[in-house]
Symmetry: C2
Subunit: 367 residues, 2 copies
């Protein structure tokens, strides 16, 4: 019996979190991780120019950041060939998803997503009283056609699709996304989570007019740009939708160092290309390690690889734990049959060597 | 006519922002500010140790921050002599106020505050469909007794009081806050905004048990610790209330560099003492400048000074504009009779000298 009288929706929410962080796991295990490969962080790091920009900005932290993120939005608009009013900058995609749900979803409204897709989106939907409807993955990928049918059936106000997908690394080509858009009911807005877009083949990224009112695209500096800890991402959409964020967002919420870092990271195309090349090599390295251990890497358009253990979710969960016990932090999909896999983030060779050495040991502990 | 169908509450909200940032003003004016004295930022800057900690952490920005802010909460708990479960860390007080309103306020719920008090709190209340009720300031200070009576009359679920106050710099002693708590109706939670607590006399800060379920205290690294741009603050309250934040907060929302900076800033008590001394000197300097220009500084327990122009709100608004035209960024209270004042942030002597030189020129333009 709590002494605190919460409002009805928060009162109904469980005290759960979408993800347990590696720091908490380390404290539970009583040891640090030798390889941090579980959160799809980018171990190749941010551009050295971004690091320098952030270091240079640190002493200016007594000043609030520009609440309009004017310079960064200008650079992003030029980069994407859209207008400034098509872009909102926020505290990562997680923050922007929360704002988007709050803007569109009234208590009881239907929302469509896939069983096992990004839990933080679900967390926000439930947190604002929305009602989640789900379809299963199909061939280890989110299923655009099933999502369309679900939206038609439920009148979903938001339809979530990550392309490329997390946690499986699978992807659709841009044509499939465009066909999905054409078939969505008029009351539905597609939330196209493109957190991993920079790792995907070009033809996975659809060409959509920035003013298309049927979709909002989510992008981030957390993955390819290596700035997960800085907390900065953006969304591209219709100006009316983008303007809506100004009604509710925490206007001074984006930190000043992240703004400086993101601006420098965006400008350093050479570093991005370097990271993209390294991630391709690392995906192959993970696939090789998997194969040597009798497992199969699934194709990936992201900076992580879902490795099929060839067993079930209980085995995969035991393997995740055994790897963590060996100092290797990985995670895994949450629902069957995808939970036969473990999910391993790409990383520099020094970390891959640790995975290479310790995966057999972890497997040994399960025999 | 928008193409976007917002949920009812966001649909009803105006497209306004609580504050226009100085960067936007600079772009409108076509020139930079020589002295940035309008946002109560701490121009004495963060501890050099905090700057170094942030610089050292920049290259680790590829990693998400610890979503539990474990180390920082531990340090804050030790500093305040409370338990870890009494503390939540968030993206500044602005972010925490938004979460608190969401936790407690259902659409239509009453909320009590003062006419002219912190607009960002009001922004959150309106943003979640709460209904604001207001009492006027009394003698340029928020009026605890009137707030209690307002809460009794309206059944307010939240009662906001900043002590010391922004924008006036006035304060109550701790005894007045405790008496207020004792008289609040049982359905009311006091939101005690102590953003400026480190600048106040000791007897302004009440001794309240951390587990007291009648109050939540808001603290920040933005002001005395000089980390406004880093976006990190915390709240102290009953464990059940604090635990509630975990149901809705953006768990990975606090950036890693801010966590490192805050930890180092908290540890550097010498730097805080230095800032406190400088702020006291700066308040006196502002008072001197005011007097030389025929105006009166009000007493302040904060890092800013409300300067009574001796005229009305129209004159003060003209003066704010004239100062901005002279390259000096200041702001002013929003409602009468407090809007006879302009609000000037404390800052190093180099900036005070600019104010000293340009205030007479700004006044000249109004004659």
């Amino acid at each position: 019996m709590t002494l605190i009288r919460f409002a009805p929706i928060p009162a109904s929410l469980p005290a759960t979190v979408p993800f347990v962080g590696p720091e908490t796991l380390q404290r539970q295990l009583g040891q640090g991780f030798a390889a941090r490969l579980g959160a799809n962080e980018n171990g190749f790091g941010p551009s050295p120019k971004a690091v320098k920009a952030m270091q240079d900005e640190a002493a200016n932290s007594w000043q609030y950041g520009d609440p309009t993120s004017h310079d960064l939005i200008g650079a992003l608009a030029a980069y994407h060939g859209v207008s400034a009013e098509n872009i909102v900058v926020g505290e990562g995609i997680d923050g922007l998803l929360g704002l988007l749900v709050r803007l569109l979803i009234a208590p009881g409204d239907a929302v469509a997503t896939s069983e096992g897709a990004y839990p933080t989106f679900n967390y926000h939907v439930t947190g604002y009283g929305g009602v989640l409807h789900k379809v299963p993955y199909r061939d280890d990928a989110e299923d655009p056609q099933a999502l369309v049918e679900l939206a038609q059936r439920t009148g979903a106000r938001l339809v979530y699709l990550a392309n490329p997908d997390n946690p499986m690394g699978s992807w659709h080509n841009g044509g499939a996304i465009l066909r999905m858009l054409d078939r969505l009911p008029p009351e539905s807005l597609l939330v196209l989570d493109e957190a991993y877009a920079e790792f995907a083949p070009d033809d996975a990224i659809p060409v959509i007019a920035a003013d298309d009112p049927r979709v909002i695209r989510m992008r981030t500096f957390s993955k390819a740009y290596g700035l997960a800890g800085a907390r900065i991402g953006y969304a591209i959409g219709h100006p009316d939708l983008i303007a809506g964020f100004d009604r509710i967002r925490n206007h001074f919420g984006v930190n000043r160092i992240a703004q400086a870092g993101a601006l420098a990271a965006l400008a350093d195309r050479d570093w991005l290309a370097h990271v993209q090349r390294e991630v391709i090599k690392s995906r192959a390295r993970i696939a090789g390690i998997a194969q040597q251990n009798g497992m199969t890497a699934l194709p990936s358009a992201t900076n992580f690889v879902a490795v099929d253990t060839g067993r079930d979710g209980v085995f995969a969960a035991d393997l995740v734990k055994a790897l963590q016990g060996q100092g290797v932090f990985v995670r895994m999909p949450g629902v069957a049959p995808q939970n036969r896999c473990i999910r391993i983030s790409c990383a520099p060779e020094s970390k891959m060597a640790i995975l290479d050495a310790r995966l057999p040991k972890a497997l040994d502990t399960l025999r």
